[in-house]
């Protein structure tokens, strides 16, 4: 469910704090207490039945050490790790950095820039599966739109994108960036909008305009938000299944698989579910530290501008 990243991802920034409770106000009447428990039970049930139990089940499935020996022995595994690192490393950082710059562009108050913003967020609104299928057909070779345009406009014979590992991987990264950059641009745009005009005015008096203003004023103020967004985006990109599965399809010959799709391939094509879970579990050394840092950040609500 790569599309877990949706509308307002950074929202949890304030969770965990709850309302500030006045002391001495903590005692609930017993009937209220029962109601409160009853209200929490549905979510608790969902959490235990559909998160805790499957998670435990997955850990149990992937606990046999021999599975990891099998993984290492599989010639697909190491290239997949490299692909995953590239997909996540580039897919997250290029996307986030461009989103940061573009959010500045969309701060400009022109009617046509506002109109452009509506078109610009369109990729985010389009379902990932359909968008990825369109990307696939756009790059399908000489019949595809991209190669067709290349030969019509510049008389270049475009490559067959999905016959080459690096072109295929690049296509996946570009498609992923296309799909999710608008969302992060919106979040960072919202962050920028909270920076008060006065700060900029003061900075301008001190001579900070243009690039200097960005480096010394805007970025320090956005750094925390940017960091949290990058961590969240890293988690979601690690778990992204749809893009790779539908744009390059993992091909040619499984050479562009990432761990999420390789796990799927093991579990559902080769009927080796334990191996599939183990492949996914090999992201844990990266996943766990990020989750810990992120949860701390979000709980203590350090995400302040």
């Amino acid at each position: 469910m790569s599309s877990t990243q949706q509308v307002l991802a950074v929202a949890p920034s304030a969770s965990g704090k709850g309302p500030r409770r006045p002391p001495g106000h903590r005692h609930l009447r017993s009937s209220d207490y029962r109601w409160a428990i009853a209200f929490v039970v549905p979510y608790a049930a969902v959490f235990f039945i559909f998160v805790v139990y499957p998670l435990g089940y997955a850990l149990w499935m992937a606990s046999k050490p021999s599975l990891y020996a099998d993984l290492i022995a599989d010639p697909l595994y190491l290239p997949t790790i490299v692909n995953t690192l590239l997909f996540v490393g580039l897919g997250v950082n290029v996307k986030m950095f461009l989103a940061l710059l573009l959010s500045g562009f969309f701060m400009r108050r022109r009617w046509w820039i506002r109109a452009l913003l509506v078109i610009y967020i369109l990729p985010w609104l389009i379902a990932a599966a359909q968008a990825c299928v369109s990307f696939h057909w756009m790059l399908i070779g000489e019949q595809g739109l991209v190669d067709g345009l290349l030969s019509a406009l510049f008389d270049i014979n475009g490559p067959i994108w999905f016959n080459d590992r690096w072109l295929g991987l690049g296509s996946n990264i570009v498609a992923y960036t296309w799909k999710w950059m608008p969302f992060w641009t919106l979040i960072l745009l919202a962050g920028r909008m909270t920076i008060s005009r006065d700060i900029y005015d003061a900075a301008e008096v001190d001579g900070a305009i243009g690039v200097r203003r960005f480096v010394h004023v805007t970025f320090p103020l956005l750094a925390n938000l940017y960091f949290v967004c990058t961590l969240l985006s890293t988690l979601w990109t690690l778990g992204d299944f749809t893009t790779v599965y539908l744009v390059s399809g993992g091909g040619p010959g499984f050479s562009t698989e990432v761990l999420a799709t390789l796990g799927f391939h093991y579990a559902f094509d080769l009927a080796k579910p334990a191996l599939g879970v183990a492949a996914v579990m090999s992201t844990l050394p990266v996943l766990i530290p990020i989750v810990i840092v992120l949860m701390r950040k979000l709980q203590t609500s350090e995400v302040q501008l």
């Binding site: 965990g16 428990i37 820039i113 990729p123 369109s134 979040i187 749809t242």
Partner: protein, 304 residues
């Protein structure tokens, strides 16, 4: 006098430099705008181009920026269920809608009850629940697909639309709880206290005060859950049988099939992506408000 003269020259230079700078910035942003326009619209345009093609088979770009004879044949074939592979179009569309709407209802219900208990009833140990939500929010859903496939068998939900609904509610409700808690802080707790004095029970507080005042946030949560379930590909593709699946899955699975009637497939894709866009545009004010809240961090934003 002479001082003024000395200053006039550099000032004129500075003004000219300023003007040049403005022209350059303007030209740069127009160019960037053009690039962004092409970048954003290219795959969308590709969808339209294929969908409007009168021939069903080819996906061929022949140098025409617009199909010479655009036709709605693809759309017609989809709607009348004549298109190959898409005989079940309306059934699958209905399945998507059913899953989406039930996910939406359950997420709003479960999320609002839990966040009401945590943020308005001062339940002890409530941070546990928030942490549970945060943890679920951080785990990529695709990593749980294999165990979910197994446990749905165990729960007797295999090949059942409810398996997908359960999974979608699981992954939508953490966000619901987090954003509702954020928003609930904007409602003064004195309201609750006043109602208490008048003898209102917890259920009445929830129904008469909490729900009405939270409407904008509930709308956002509802849209979020609906769009999440509507757009998802992985879970329905694994948890549902081919004969009773959602439209998203059919379109994804046929992507490598050269024999598929591609104008109809793309027409179906366009019909499929339109409802979420329409809903989001209809509710753009609510969504924009929550995005701002998200960016700002509610702790500081306070009641405004």
């Amino acid at each position: 006098m002479s001082v003024a003269l000395d200053l006039a020259q550099p000032m004129r230079l500075a003004r000219r430099r300023y003007r040049l700078r403005r022209v350059l910035t303007e030209a740069g942003s127009v160019m960037l705008g053009g690039v962004l326009l092409i970048w954003s619209l290219m795959p969308v345009y590709n969808m339209l181009l294929v969908a409007l093609d009168p021939e069903e088979g080819e996906i061929e770009f022949d140098g025409n920026l617009w199909p010479p004879e655009p036709s709605f044949e693809g759309f017609r074939a989809v709607m009348t269920r004549e298109a190959r592979y898409l005989e079940d179009f309306w059934h699958q569309f209905g399945n998507s809608l059913y899953i989406g709407l039930l996910t939406m209802l359950l997420t709003v219900l479960i999320g609002s009850l839990a966040s009401f208990a945590v943020s308005r009833m001062r339940l002890g140990k409530s941070s546990l629940l928030t942490n549970a939500a945060l943890l679920t929010y951080a785990i990529p859903a695709s990593f749980l697909i294999v165990p979910h496939y197994h446990i749905m068998h165990l729960y007797g939900l295999s090949d059942n639309l409810w398996a997908v609904i359960a999974a979608q509610v699981t992954f939508a409700s953490p966000f619901a709880i987090l954003i509702l808690q954020l928003y609930a802080r904007l409602i003064p707790s004195e309201l609750d206290d006043a109602a208490r004095v008048d003898g209102a029970s917890a259920v009445q507080l929830y129904l008469r005060i909490y729900l009405p005042l939270m409407t904008p946030a509930l709308a956002v949560v509802a849209v979020y859950a609906l769009v999440l379930a509507w757009n998802d590909y992985l879970y329905p593709s694994v948890l549902l049988p081919a004969r009773n699946t959602t439209l998203s899955v059919t379109q994804g699975q046929l992507f490598a099939d050269v024999d598929a009637p591609w104008n109809a497939m793309m027409a179906a894709a366009i019909l499929y992506v339109l409802p979420p866009i329409a809903v989001l545009f209809a509710l753009r004010r609510c969504v924009a408000a929550s995005l701002t809240m998200a960016g700002v961090d509610g702790g500081r934003s306070g009641p405004t």
